[in-house]
């Protein structure tokens, strides 16, 4: 009886893990099978053409712009907020409000951010469809991610470091940037990488704020099309599954590279500590 139950539970664990792994293999495998043949230097490095034999260079450039801009906006705000919540704030109404706000922001579907950005940045602030509107919109999307991960990273810094520094007559701020932040960097970094993944994968919100212009953007005030939006439009308008899958391959490789970088950097920084 005890053995039987044990075996059932064990099987459930193995089956679930198997299911996850198979799903993963099938999805990634499918995207690669469909998409790999479409990948060649022309596809990756030449300008887009309406005739169909161009490449995705403008989308790659747009994606990079969007990632850099949104990270540049969200990271400082996110990290500073997390520091406030974790290191300065005392328990109280304000902190509860901020925590609730960030948690709610994290739970809102991106289509709602899209609606918001589409009115607020695009129309009200007059930024029109532009990389800037899109980036600011996704900056709000990733803000809670960065706040959360930074908070977690700060939490893992041993209290003993803080006490040691303060006991030497350092101020809280000195303690923060000399001892706490350096120790928390690996964690913060992984939050940023996670956010980059989120920005890269976003379509609904970007579509409604950055527009869909399939051209090499000149400035951040231009409208442009990210890789993910391009993949979406290819599927939706042309039914070009293979094209979308090719972009999928590019994106998966991009995400893979980013994850690896994050791990390596985190490890390096950790090594420096131990």
């Amino acid at each position: 009886m005890r053995k039987l139950k044990e075996n059932i539970l064990k099987s459930a664990v193995y089956l679930s893990a198997g299911f996850t792994v198979i799903t993963l293999v099938v999805i990634v495998g499918y995207i690669f099978m469909q998409g790999i043949s479409g990948i060649n230097p022309t596809f990756l490095f030449s300008n887009y053409s309406a005739s169909g034999d161009g490449g995705i260079l403008p989308m790659i450039v747009t994606t990079i712009y969007t990632v850099l801009l949104s990270i540049a906006v969200a990271t400082p705000i996110g990290i500073l907020s997390a520091i406030y919540l974790q290191e300065y704030a005392k328990k109280g109404k304000l902190v509860t409000a901020i925590r609730f706000a960030t948690e709610s922001l994290a739970g809102i579907p991106s289509i709602i951010y899209g609606l918001f950005g589409g009115i607020f940045f695009v129309v009200t602030l007059g930024m029109k469809y532009s990389i800037l509107s899109g980036s600011l919109t996704v900056a709000i999307i990733i803000l809670p991610v960065i706040i959360r991960t930074t908070e977690e990273a700060l939490k893992t810094v041993p209290q003993s470091y803080r006490e040691a520094s303060l006991a030497l007559g350092s101020t809280k701020f000195q303690t923060l940037y000399k001892v706490i932040l350096p120790s928390a960097i690996p964690g913060i970094l992984s939050g940023i990488i996670l956010s980059v993944g989120r920005v890269i994968g976003e379509s609904a919100a970007i579509l409604l704020t950055a527009g869909t212009v399939a051209q090499m953007p000149g400035t951040i005030f231009d409208s442009a099309r990210t890789l993910t939006v391009h993949a979406y439009l290819l599927t939706k308008e042309k039914g070009d599954i293979q094209g979308a899958a090719s972009i999928g391959v590019v994106l998966i490789i991009l995400v893979l590279i980013l994850n690896t970088i994050a791990k390596v950097v985190a490890k390096k920084l950790n090594k420096a500590n131990y």
Partner: protein, 255 residues
């Protein structure tokens, strides 16, 4: 934040166009040629849907709107100028294996209003019909319903709604029971294109009104947001060269 207006970068060398996803691809080709001919000019094309394009034009976010349907009264009242730039046949597409190759407009209406639900009733094998439609508001859908002769409310509740011609095509390609409609410009050999009342969808048949389900593509604009380049762009589309490009994309010249 708050860098006032992005349009500050618009010194007249940029023409902003937005709207219908059916017109979009042809406009991209037009823009490519136009930019090549007029160095320093950029033509920005947003494919966001007919209504959004019209709304953008009214609000001034775009100079030119692309629509694949006629304007609504609300929209007409906003003081928009319309220019017809091409005709488009709306193709009915089915799976390659489907033996039905020809339907009358009445049969199509029957299918889309849910009165005909089995392929055997229109000469095919005994199988349920899976009806595919575009979303409410789509120019293609408006044009289709108008020509076939029914209103949105009458559309069968069973209809699958796909956003975009591509999704309709992909679905039809994978489902033997499906029928859908897409813009002529998007038809390719992954699907089977039906004759309507024995008439095939060709540019000639659209021009001669022999093919029943066709609609105009129009551009809209507000006079006060037009620049010289924007006007020149519309002229270019209407020129022989412009119309040729439209034809190359599968649309039908208005000339």
């Amino acid at each position: 934040v708050g860098c006032g207006s992005g349009s500050s970068s618009n010194d007249g060398s940029k023409v902003t166009v937005s709207g219908s996803t059916s017109v979009g691809p042809a406009m991209e080709s037009i823009a490519e040629k136009y930019q090549a001919d007029n160095q320093g000019v950029t033509v920005e094309i947003q494919q966001v849907g007919s209504s959004a394009g019209i709304k953008n034009t009214i609000e001034g976010t775009s100079q030119i709107g692309m629509a694949s349907r006629d304007l609504k009264d609300e929209e007409k009242n906003a003081g928009l100028k319309e220019t017809e730039i091409a005709l488009d046949g709306i193709a009915l597409v089915t799976h390659k294996n489907n033996t039905v190759k020809d339907l009358t407009v009445d049969q199509i209406k029957g299918i889309y209003t849910g009165k005909i639900t089995n392929w055997k009733d229109v000469g095919g094998k005994d199988a349920p019909i899976v009806v595919l439609s575009r979303e409410d508001g789509s120019g293609t859908r408006d044009g289709f319903q108008e020509k076939v002769g029914f209103e949105s409310e009458a559309l069968t509740k069973e209809a699958q709604i796909s956003d975009g011609s591509g999704n309709i095509k992909t679905t039809v390609e994978g489902n033997e029971n499906a029928i859908g409609y897409i813009s002529y410009g998007y038809v390719d050999d992954t699907v089977n294109m039906l004759k309507i009342g024995g008439v095939e969808l060709t540019p000639e048949n659209v021009k001669s009104n022999a093919y029943a389900i066709a609609r105009p593509f129009i551009l809209v604009n507000k006079e006060d947001s037009m620049t010289e380049q924007a006007n020149k762009l519309i002229d270019f589309i209407l020129s022989d060269e412009g119309q040729k490009i439209m034809e190359g994309k599968g649309f039908i010249s208005i000339k």
